[in-house]
Assembly symmetry: C2
Homo-oligomer: 309 residues x 2
């Protein structure tokens, strides 16, 4: 296909490992939060998935509930500093059950909202949006070269951040928008340094972008596949479950409707016991009905189908 001869390339793996700890979506990091766990491609496993799974379980001593390939990044600016060889990075999303040793924080786990403060709308629109992000993007809009570009930029900003129709799945688009507007730094990319970045922790290389990819993927996924349960303890109340979904989606849900949904889908079954005192009426405990993973395949359709004959 392309004509150039093969050239030396380094393959690395990156993992976005997610767990829920105290109603916060946490992601495993290294180097004081600056890196995602990553390492060279391992040739000894039959598949990348099993290699990744083995590695993670060795590190965290917890089984990986769910693994999914995210994306393969191979842009030119991704080159190894030492050898100058191009880096191709294959990234994965992994879900693991929380452990919550109550206080004994696992080192390395960070709330992903530290990296993306503007993504947490659980208590309404975060202040940072109106106070810092929108002004900055407003300026970026004005800086467009002509009226048409200005219009396009405005439309993009509105889509990404508008109050009325906040779309939680646009995490990556928002990050990319902020990046283009020069509002977040990203090492290793051909950009001048940023004077006053929008709040939120940065990461080295493009790891923050990979994280945004994982976040977006997970937010989309929970809406049509029961993956939340991979993050839950075996038994849980519907309240806990709701808070888990809210933590991931970054927005509040309607309690009654949430229950109705879970119920109708037959996702859970009662264990027969109730939760310990969490202050208030204790909820019934439920467990995930693993059978439904078999029963119902993927969902899906938005097409006006004709009769099945």
């Amino acid at each position: 296909m392309p004509s150039a001869g093969p050239r030396s390339v380094v393959i690395e793996l990156n993992a976005v490992l997610v767990a829920l700890i105290d109603d916060q979506p946490q992601v495993l990091t290294l180097e004081d939060g600056a890196l995602l766990p990553s390492g060279p491609f391992e040739g000894d496993h039959p598949t990348l998935q099993t290699g990744l799974r083995a590695w993670v379980e060795r590190q965290t001593h917890h089984p990986l509930g769910y693994v999914e390939q995210l994306y393969t990044f191979a842009d030119r600016y991704r080159t190894d500093a030492a050898s100058g060889r191009r880096i191709v990075s294959i990234s994965y999303l992994g879900l693991t059950r929380e452990r919550s040793m109550k206080g004994e924080r696992e080192p390395g786990w960070r709330s992903w909202y530290r990296y993306f403060p503007w993504e947490d709308w659980r208590d309404g629109r975060p202040a940072v949006v109106a106070k810092l992000i929108l002004p900055k993007l407003g300026k970026w809009i004005d800086d467009a070269r002509d009226a048409a570009a200005r219009r396009a930029r405005r439309q993009r900003v509105e889509q990404c951040f508008e109050q009325g129709a906040w779309n939680d799945e646009l995490t990556l688009q928002r990050y990319e928008l902020l990046y283009e507007a020069g509002a977040v730094p990203e090492a290793g990319r051909p950009r001048r340094p940023i004077a006053d970045p929008v709040p939120g922790d940065a990461m080295r290389y493009d790891h923050r972008r990979i994280l945004a990819t994982g976040l977006a993927r997970l937010r989309a996924k929970i809406k049509y596949r029961p993956v939340v349960f991979e993050l839950m303890p075996p038994d849980f109340t519907l309240g806990q479950l709701q808070r888990a979904v809210e933590a991931l989606a970054g927005r509040p849900l309607h309690k009654q409707n949430f229950r109705r949904l879970v119920d109708q889908q037959g996702l859970v079954e009662e264990t027969g016991t109730v939760a310990a005192g969490t202050g208030g009426r204790p909820g019934k405990l439920y467990r995930f009905r693993r059978e439904i993973l078999l029963e119902r395949a993927l969902a899906g359709t938005k097409l006006p189908l004709a009769r099945a004959e």
Copy 2:
């Protein structure tokens, strides 16, 4: 992350290029249909996408409307015959506009239903399902080692092929099921040869699997993003559009509802002219409203949201 040292790896690119020709979804192949277009990783383009795009446009002399990364395959059995080096293959899905030089068939374009005859339900359930596939899978179910395994297999077969609830997006799952059941051959994988495979052309290496991945992705995609238009000529009738979607989804659609959907979404606008005589009342011509690509971002949500405040 993994411990083994870096090892020599070959990276290759694979492309699933789709076009619609005469109401058939066609895919570009090489070697008499046995291979997907592929080649070594090219280091000279800033991103993989641009590299791929340039290559395709050079080959087909047609612009690539839409490109999306599919998946990165890196299983152990994928090794280069000559060097023994492991092959990592990054695959892409690309959509290009049909050209339909009326008769002068472009070489290399094949209907994807040649590879997956059981996926075309436009005229009801294909005979091959009841006649060959289900019996074969029935035998596979019976061959399970114990009752539990038998039950699991049965459930899987039902999900994949059941008449009532045919899910067109499960293309890849179906292919994998047939593969596991020993009903389709796949070179390069650790499997004994198949005696009497189910009808459908095979491909070399795992290219047929990559194709199935592309098909599944595209079928899922058309339901929430207006990508069909990348396959259509500039002007088209709603009838043509419907046939295009049907070709991709592999199932018949309800005509009136299809129109209602297209209309409500504001996807198209009339050109003011009508189609030439195709036998029957000529339909109005429409064109895709490119603006909506900007207007509406991705769709999406299945969560019981609380008020937006």
